[in-house]
Symmetry: C2
């Protein structure tokens, strides 16, 4: 083992050791720790903002292309964002503790009492990019769900993540709880990451959040199970019987309200019977908001200034003010388009016809399917999970927004009176 490998193994081993503690912490203590972490963040705001400033200054050495306004926006902390992180921790404290919950109980004919009881997964590794608030959100969710966490953020946010990790760890230590419940390892490089994703003895699950190259890298290198938080090629289908003002409102919200996130709409599909009444005005409204439209021939005929869509536009995740638009002859064609080009993330239909809606909801097995609502609702908070660690795009048992429950599994608890197998 190289020195680096030894160092990484020690981090993973410490996490496993800490996990045997957090797995059995009482709900009361976990909630108190979350509250004290929130207080500590607020009390040490100045320190946090100072370290964050170093990260922002550090971006000056990046190329102009990398140093986009969106990067700076994601990276920047301020008083409001520090308060939001603290509020987030308190919100997690207020959620019910999943650990120990009895999911279901039944009795067997031989008298065995069987129940399925929630337990933490164990040690979770999270790899993410520029937003430093993920450090605090993920640590809070893992603590509440009884897991130890190893956090590896982006190099551009290193000072912010390290100070946030330090504050959380100091709170644990002050309360006599192992600080290794939360380890921020932003200092390890790709070689170190390679070693980390091979710690199958100590780490139970890796959650990568980021772009396609990170996903590919994880797939290739990780020996630990991976739940990806990958791209969203989200569709909205405006059916022939849609309420047009509702369709306009939803389409506009799905694209424009926050175009840089995974649950924003990327492709708008429109039934040909409603296209003439719906599209011309919709296209103008998008264009006024700065959205570039790339359409199929029928869309080009219905709007001015529409670019011709290429084949590569249909599977594209723009994460920007760009939208692909296609007119389809039938609902069936819309469903097939989504099956061909979608990423199983989020699909929505606008229609007044319940039968059409139910067919759409039934036939498409994306992580979230919606009827008469914006794709932007694929979000743990919005759907009522309380908070989320991300959105799983791996078609595993946790699929879609992952909240506290999705950070746990169940064990079978069996109570008998001497039963044996015949």
């Amino acid at each position: 083992m190289t020195k680096l490998e030894k160092q990484i193994e020690a981090i993973a081993r410490r996490a496993r050791l800490a996990s045997s503690v957090v797995t059995k912490l009482s709900t009361g203590l976990k909630d108190r720790l979350l509250g004290e972490m929130a207080d500590a963040l607020l009390n040490r705001e100045r320190e946090i903002l100072r370290e964050n400033r170093r990260d922002i200054d550090g971006t000056e050495k990046l190329s102009a292309a990398t140093r986009r306004a969106s990067l700076i926006d994601r990276l920047t902390l301020n008083g409001k964002r520090v308060r939001e992180m603290a509020d987030g921790l308190r919100a997690v404290a207020a959620l019910p503790d999943p650990v120990g919950q009895v999911v279901r109980s039944w009795e067997r004919p031989n008298g065995l009492q069987v129940s399925r009881v929630r337990i933490p997964l164990g040690v979770i590794g999270i790899i993410y990019e520029s937003r430093p608030n993920v450090t605090v959100d993920a640590a809070g969710l893992c603590l509440k769900s009884g897991n130890a966490v190893i956090l590896r953020g982006g190099s551009e946010a290193i000072h912010s993540n390290l100070i946030l990790g330090k504050i959380l760890r100091e709170t644990l230590k002050k309360n006599g709880v192992s600080p290794d419940l939360v380890q921020v390892v932003d200092t390890i490089d790709r070689k170190g990451m390679e070693s980390l994703v091979r710690q199958t003895r100590y780490v139970d699950l890796m959650i990568p959040r980021g772009g396609e190259s990170l996903m590919k890298w994880m797939e290739e290198h990780s020996r630990i199970p991976v739940i990806k938080h990958d791209k969203g090629v989200c569709h909205l289908f405006v059916d022939e019987s849609a309420d047009i003002p509702m369709a306009e409102r939803i389409a506009f919200n799905a694209k424009v309200q926050r175009p840089g996130v995974c649950n924003a709409m990327e492709t708008l599909l429109v039934h040909e019977k409603i296209a003439p009444a719906f599209l011309p005005k919709m296209i103008r409204r998008f264009q006024e908001a700065g959205v570039e439209i790339r359409g199929d021939p029928a869309t080009c005929r219905l709007g001015e200034g529409v670019k011709k869509a290429k084949e590569s536009d249909w599977p594209a995740e723009y994460l920007d003010l760009v939208l692909a638009v296609r007119v389809v002859p039938t609902r069936e064609a819309a469903i097939r388009h989504i099956q061909k080009y979608g990423s199983l993330h989020t699909e929505s239909i606008v229609t007044e016809d319940r039968g059409s809606a139910e067919e759409f909801l039934n036939r498409l097995d994306s992580s979230v399917v919606l009827w008469n609502a914006s794709t932007r609702f694929n979000d743990g908070g919005q759907l009522g999970l309380g908070a989320e660690i991300g959105i799983s795009t791996t078609k595993m048992h946790a699929f879609g927004p992952m909240g506290l429950e999705e950070l746990t599994t169940t064990k079978f608890v069996v109570r008998g009176s001497g039963q044996v197998r015949e």
Copy 2:
């Protein structure tokens, strides 16, 4: 791509295509298919036994060490076993269909109606060893849960698996359903397997069932998520307040009833206060049944003909009539022994003290923990799941016996009336 890689990709692609069909088959049709498959197995028993004979004859070229009686036993089919396979399919048909089940529903303050609805995982690859009945059991469970399956059994069972696969596929075809729902690929070699476990585009989950070398190989090579069905180092702890006749009955059953399976007891831990009353007679009873006892010094003092246990006995999975026995000073010591040497599979406590039992059940997060019952109950059928595809030892969301539900995930279905995000 080599020719082999193209061939494997074609298999995986066909499975994906078939999965888009099976995912939406009605419960009635699936149950009818399962019934017809059962009939076909019974009708073609002679053909099945002829092919099975070829496999058994084939083992003659194996070394005596490989060609153990247990291998021949696992491999052999006969009239009774064919009937059991057919009955298994009918039992799966009688189970409720998980697909489409609404797990939970709730309403958000903005009026959105949210539900979590069960959907199939998609395409499942199963790699297993000598027992040909797995081919039929796994195909039945995957069909009922709406998944396409790629089955790769052991080379020693190739003729049996191919004829069973052929019969199942012919039943599908006769009913106008894609036979590629069930593909037996026993003809592919290790190189082919390597290609199979890289089909991330088409295969959602790999389930390996077998020994340690297969698990290591999967961990190293698979780019598809893996749920292992690995070894069981199962413990039974006889507490100081145990009912001695009950403890004897459970210990004997856990070790002797079927020693070659993963839920058989491998280590017996005995509280020192009850050891003098319990162990001498228990050891004799085990020895009369042909069980070799390997004990710590205290156990050696309490029984005749007890071999001295080595450190390597504590983490051992014997799968044979061998048992490690240790006398422990406290319940705490028993729990720590299990935490150190166990494989998170199955642990049982025998005690009349409810407090002791609950502490044991709470502190040990193995997939199945039992009080006053045999370890042999870690089994999907025994615990009431109806049937199982195996026992997950991967601490993922499916942990322990995996039945129909564990072959599904959920999607979020959201019904609105025009809601958008603010």
